[in-house]
Symmetry: C2
Subunit: 84 residues, 2 copies
């Protein structure tokens, strides 16, 4: 694996799992006042389109990364709607 | 432009600009209590690595999208650190 590939994989792993601490924090505190609903609506729809793109292109890394992101993004979005 | 490309571009635009409403909201309210610091630390470093990846690969769409994302992510992260 060359340097670019290592950087690319690291970037993908970090951005995919970046929503996990927010999901855990929001599950614990049940507070979402400072979180932007519009941000998570746009993000969730964007990640959904990335997943569709991965399925059309039959690209497994794009499909897997965005499935994880979509679950996390929908989690935060649901908590935002529930506890707003 | 075929269907997959339209979906891909739409996905890229949505996920790139998804941080804009959060940046605006946080600038206005100056409240960041419910936002996860760890989430934005991981996200910002992940986006930075995507930018490095784009530069290594000389891939202009990846460079541009992640430059915008990085500015927005650093904005929210700075506000989080300032107003925590």
């Amino acid at each position: 694996m060359n340097f670019a590939t290592v950087i690319g994989f690291s970037a993908a792993i970090l951005t995919t799992f970046s929503l996990l601490p927010q999901t855990i924090k929001t599950l614990q505190t049940k507070r979402t006042q400072d979180i932007s609903l519009m941000a998570y609506l746009i993000l969730t729809f964007g990640i959904f389109l990335w997943l569709v793109y991965g399925i059309i292109k039959n690209d497994l890394p794009i499909i897997l990364a965005n499935m994880i992101s979509l679950i996390l993004s929908i989690s935060v979005l649901s908590l935002k709607i529930k506890y707003r």
